[in-house]
């Protein structure tokens, strides 16, 4: 089948842009497709037409539904031809058109016939086509043939069936799982690709059965695998098993490590690399385990093949982040890669060197990077910027040349992500290296003079407003900021107005000049800008003379905004316009637990301009409304906190009861949510008898019973207790549900007249310390910590005893305290020996609390913790310590 579509013309060489498909048109080709219907099929011509159709599809042309159906039906006629070349094109065409379910039936029988053909190539291709277009019902019919095909002696047929199995597993897992035996047999195949495909399918069939996967791995690692690709798969499965089996490195030997290490001596480079990469990614890899892998990667660095060099340097770059010393052996080879033709390799080499190198080499490396920054893609530029940021944190003395470099690349072309990485890095340097502040701020000012990204401009303006007034000469920034008011869009203008106001509030000498500028903003074309200018002119007070700014105004401008935006939003929505103004203090401050999706990013280092996380809409205001509708609770004051529901019954019992604890200043209200799960019963006069003999500081104040509790319609019982004001009183309560049962006839739904008194024991309920703390995040912990001051600081150390892991210990303490972890510090990086966790929150009585927890491993499992608390009240600081001491 090597016939050219168009006979070569002798004079076509003159035409440079000759193409057999020149001037091709969909309509004309569809006309041509009529030859498929000829009684005497011309196989060659039909092949040519199919090629043209495929060419059109490949170029991105689409067929309408009718066109596709027509072509499909015409193509099915071609099964009559015995021409093999044509048949191949027919298979291809059917796969490309992907016919609808009702059309598939037309070709099913032809394809099933081909599936049982003597010709291997027909069998293999028919299987692939059929499995691509089939649905579940048809699959059951052909299952028998597919099972046969898996163990077919022809490797192409076996592979076709196995690969189709891998695809079908996504849609029809229950059918494919029945092929286990056949698949297992073909794992032993001598043909390399059959083994690869069989292993891939077998693992996917068993992937949810850890034991089976572990068995599979341990039997195959003894050396039955021949194909390099299958060996790569096996390495991946092995490292998964190692990862799941956890760290029992006590004895020093990791299961299967020997197998990975032996793969480093495999004859195929692909396998060597896969094994080396797997070793570097092992959880808690030791330098002894790492060394053989580093050695082979080092050899790859001097390979003549760019792909090999790239793979090796990319892996070493990752290793250098965690184990820089292990990579230093490769430094000489890395140096020579700096001048590599392939810029990706050169960049990776330099950034690796930056991570492993010493202070003296920094300047030289910086010079080399500058030479090719313009040649590389943004992704790599970000890698460079991040390397420089960490370098600067490592060698603060070098900040001058690094800051210079950052400001230079900030001026060049680049996308948003890249620019953001640079700005974030400068912000971090300004925060961490006091000497770098003034130059850094000026660089940022220059950048916003010509910045196309609104987001970055506003973030920088905000940052300037906080840091600018603290510099030696704040007035020099005013020009840059006021320029924004002239030149930018409304969002940036509004940001600039706020920043000006902050300068005015913080620097008294500047106030008259700021007033003049803000007054000009009163005539801005945008509402928001005008509103802000008016607001600030009023809050700053005075009439533009040099006066000291009120503390309240400063708090308003510079203080953290500690109310989650969603809570504020619901608060505003619930507010009904009336005489009474909206009171911002009534908005609950608690951050509700974040959905998982948001946590993904939290493992990363906090970025310079990160905004505080926003929580999902809270249920707190729903509770508040429910409680305030009961007159007895009206004088309890504002609700401080409502706990998550605690189950008081086991699942699937007769009556399901859970309780929500509502904490007020002087009261605690238990809300029992009850559900009757028996259709034949109607409960009446339902009450909860609460025994507070183990909580004698509480006294029962009020109880609100439930008149009736029919089947499957939940009801609430409230019991209120009085407690000493503002004190975290603890206690344990036992509960009994008391009620009158009336039998119900399920057919008529009518209840009998007579009821029987009965009771039902519920589980105990406790008021714990965490009930008195609110999770309230702060956006910048360091600032909050410093502004709180050490007046009421309390420090102590605790031994937590043997723990499963550091992460487990951290979680336990966070849950015990019920405070909000800040800046992603609740995540403990794997294998760390120490960790610092930052928590913030509000204690009952509306007292802010900040906690710094330093954990350290003391011996193999023992965890020690240093607890530092700062708050606005020393009794609260002590209370936090008491929680930990007693918990």
């Amino acid at each position: 089948m090597a016939q050219p579509l168009v006979k070569k013309d002798d004079d076509r060489d003159d035409e440079a842009e000759y193409s057999p498909f020149m001037g091709i048109e969909k309509g004309a080709v569809l006309q041509e497709a009529r030859v498929f219907n000829d009684p005497q099929l011309d196989a060659r011509r039909c092949s040519q037409v199919i090629t043209k159709l495929l060419y059109l599809l490949n170029q991105g042309e689409t067929f309408t539904k009718t066109e596709a159906t027509e072509v499909f039906f015409a193509v099915t006629k071609l099964f009559q031809s015995k021409d093999m070349g044509l048949r191949r094109m027919v298979y291809l065409m059917i796969k490309e058109i992907s016919p609808s379910a009702d059309e598939v039936i037309i070709v099913t029988s032809s394809l099933m016939k081909d599936m049982n053909s003597k010709i291997d190539m027909y069998r293999a291709n028919a299987i692939r086509v059929l499995c691509r277009i089939t649905d579940g019902t048809l699959l059951a019919q052909i299952e028998r043939y597919l099972k046969q095909a898996i163990v077919d002696k022809n490797p192409i047929v076996a592979s076709a069936a196995l690969v189709s199995g891998i695809h079908l597993l996504q849609t029809n897992p229950e059918i494919v799982k029945r092929w286990s035996n056949e698949v297992q047999e073909s794992v032993q195949s001598r043909a390399a690709f059959v083994q690869f495909h069989a292993l891939g399918l077998l693992h996917q069939i068993r992937q949810n059965d850890r034991l089976a996967v572990s068995k599979l791995v341990s039997s195959l690692t003894r050396g039955a695998v021949r194909s390099p690709l299958a060996q790569c798969l096996l390495i991946r499965y092995t490292s998964q098993v190692i990862c799941e089996s956890g760290n029992n490195t006590q004895s020093g030997d990791r299961p299967f490590y020997d197998f990975l290490e032996s793969c480093l001596r495999h004859k195929s480079e692909m396998v060597i690399f896969e094994a080396a990469r797997a070793i570097t990614e092992l959880n808690g890899v030791t330098s002894r385990e790492l060394n053989p892998a580093i050695t082979v990667l080092q050899l790859f660095l001097s390979s003549s093949k760019p792909v090999l060099r790239f793979a090796a340097v990319r892996t070493l770059n990752k290793v250098a982040m965690i184990h820089p010393t292990s990579v230093t052996n490769c430094n000489i080879d890395m140096e020579s890669l700096i001048s590599d033709q392939n810029r990706s390799i050169a960049t990776l080499a330099i950034t690796t060197l930056l991570k492993t190198g010493n202070e003296s080499s920094v300047d030289r490396l910086m010079k080399q990077i500058t030479n090719f920054m313009s040649d590389i893609a943004d992704e790599f530029k970000i890698v460079v910027v991040e390397a420089i940021r960490s370098l600067c944190q490592k060698f603060p003395l070098k900040y001058r040349s690094l800051m210079n470099f950052l400001s230079n690349i900030l001026r060049e072309e680049g996308g948003f992500e890249y620019k953001k990485a640079i700005v974030d890095s400068i912000v971090i340097l300004i925060r961490e290296i006091p000497d770098a502040k003034e130059t850094g701020l000026l660089h940022l000012c220059e950048f916003i003079e010509d910045c196309e990204f609104t987001y970055l401009s506003t973030q920088i303006l905000h940052f300037l407003g906080i840091e600018g007034p603290k510099t030696s000469d704040p007035s020099k920034y005013i020009r840059f900021i006021y320029n924004r008011v002239h030149l930018e869009n409304a969002t940036v203008r509004a940001g600039a107005v706020s920043t000006l106001a902050k300068f005015g509030a913080a620097v008294d000498e500047l106030k008259p000049r700021i007033f003049v500028l803000l007054r000009r903003c009163l005539f801005d074309s945008d509402d928001e800008v005008r509103d802000r200018a008016t607001l600030y002119l009023n809050t700053l007070g005075g009439d533009g003379s040099v006066v000291e700014t009120d503390k309240a105004v400063k708090d308003f401008l510079f203080g953290p905004f500690d109310i989650p935006l969603v809570n504020l939003e619901t608060g505003l929505k619930n507010y009904e316009p009336s005489e009474e103004a909206f009171d911002i203090d009534s908005v609950p401050k608690e951050v509700k637990s974040q959905p998982l999706a948001e946590k993904k990013a939290s493992g990363k280092k906090p970025t310079g301009l990160g905004a505080p996380p926003s929580g999902p809409p809270s249920t707190a205001d729903a509770y508040q409304r429910a409680l305030s509708s009961i007159p007895e609770f009206a004088n309890f004051g504002n609700l401080f906190k409502s706990s998550a529901p605690v189950e008081l019954t086991e699942a699937e019992t007769e009556y399901a009861v859970n309780v929500v604890k509502h904490i007020f200043d002087r009261h605690v209200v238990f809300q029992y949510n009850c559900t009757n799960t028996i259709p034949e019963q109607l409960l009446e006069h339902v009450i909860v008898i609460v025994d507070n003999s183990e909580a004698d500081e509480f006294s029962e104040a009020f109880s609100k019973p439930l008149k009736s509790l029919p089947y499957d319609s939940p009801g609430q019982i409230f019991v209120a207790f009085e407690k000493p004001e503002g004190v975290p009183t603890l206690g344990k309560f036992s509960n009994v549900l008391k009620f009158i049962v009336r039998e119900v006839d399920p057919t008529t739904g009518e209840a009998e007249d007579d009821g029987v008194e009965d009771e039902y024991q519920l589980e105990d309920l406790e008021i714990v310390s965490a009930d008195y703390t609110l999770k309230v995040g702060v956006s910048n912990f360091r600032n909050a910590w410093e502004s709180m001051g050490p007046d009421f600081e309390r420090v102590d150390e605790y031994g937590l005893g043997p723990r499963e892991s550091l992460a487990e210990a951290v979680n336990t303490v966070i849950n015990l305290l019920g405070l909000q972890p800040c800046e992603g510090t609740e995540v403990v990086p794997p294998n760390s020996r120490s960790h610092t966790c930052l928590l913030s929150g509000v204690f009952i009585g509306n007292i802010k609390v900040l906690v710094r927890l330093s954990f350290g491993l003391d011996g193999p499992k023992d965890v020690a913790m240093k607890l530092t608390v700062r708050s606005e009240d020393e009794t609260v600081s002590d209370a936090i310590h008491e929680i930990v001491a007693s918990g």
């Binding site: 991105g60 689409t62 093999m84 592979s159 690709f193 896969e274």
Partner: protein, 180 residues
């Protein structure tokens, strides 16, 4: 394909000309759902690589969190794309297989006009290398053999065999003996 577990997976194979235009392309991943996003990706990959010298050895780069391995011959540019956690050497073996097979199928006249004239072979070749993202075969000669193995159907009358087909059969047998 959405998830193939830990199985190595190929996101696309591209064959472009010296201006970045499509000769033949095949996408196996949903990362580029529309034709315009595919074209944009091809243009991006082409402009990012066109200045490099990928004629003697296959070259490699990281673009938009994808690893792209590529090789150029005459006015043809071969690309294979995989995810950024893929083993670079596996991707490279797919590229090499594709490249070798095309070289054999075009009888070493690897250029755009020859590729277009034998587009059916190129398309079949793509079909034999990767199925739905899963690698089927990476041995160039074997791929070429699978594409051209058109020994006539035993039932077909002899008269239907054209001279070209007979020649092709002969050539296949020859390649096979030569390469295996």
């Amino acid at each position: 394909m959405a998830s193939n577990g830990l199985c190595p997976s190929i996101k696309n194979i591209l064959l472009l000309d010296s201006e970045g235009k499509r000769v033949a392309v095949k996408y196996y991943s949903d990362d580029w759902p529309t034709n315009s996003s595919k074209l944009a990706f091809e243009k991006f990959v082409f402009t990012k690589t066109v200045k490099t010298n990928a004629r003697t050895e296959a070259e490699i780069t990281l673009l938009e969190n994808n690893i792209v391995v590529y090789k150029f011959v005459q006015d043809l540019h071969f690309f294979v794309t995989g995810g950024d956690d893929e083993n670079e050497l596996i991707l490279s073996s797919v590229l090499q297989g594709f490249f070798d097979a095309v070289t054999l199928l075009l009888r070493s006249n690897v250029d755009k006009s020859e590729a277009l004239e034998n587009l059916d072979l190129i398309l079949l070749c793509l079909d034999e290398i990767v199925d739905g993202g899963i690698i089927l075969e990476t041995n160039g000669p074997l791929i070429a053999e699978k594409v051209t193995s058109h020994n006539m159907d035993a039932d077909a009358p002899l008269s239907e065999q054209t001279l070209t087909q007979a020649w092709a059969t002969a050539r296949d047998t020859f390649t096979r003996t030569l390469l295996t």
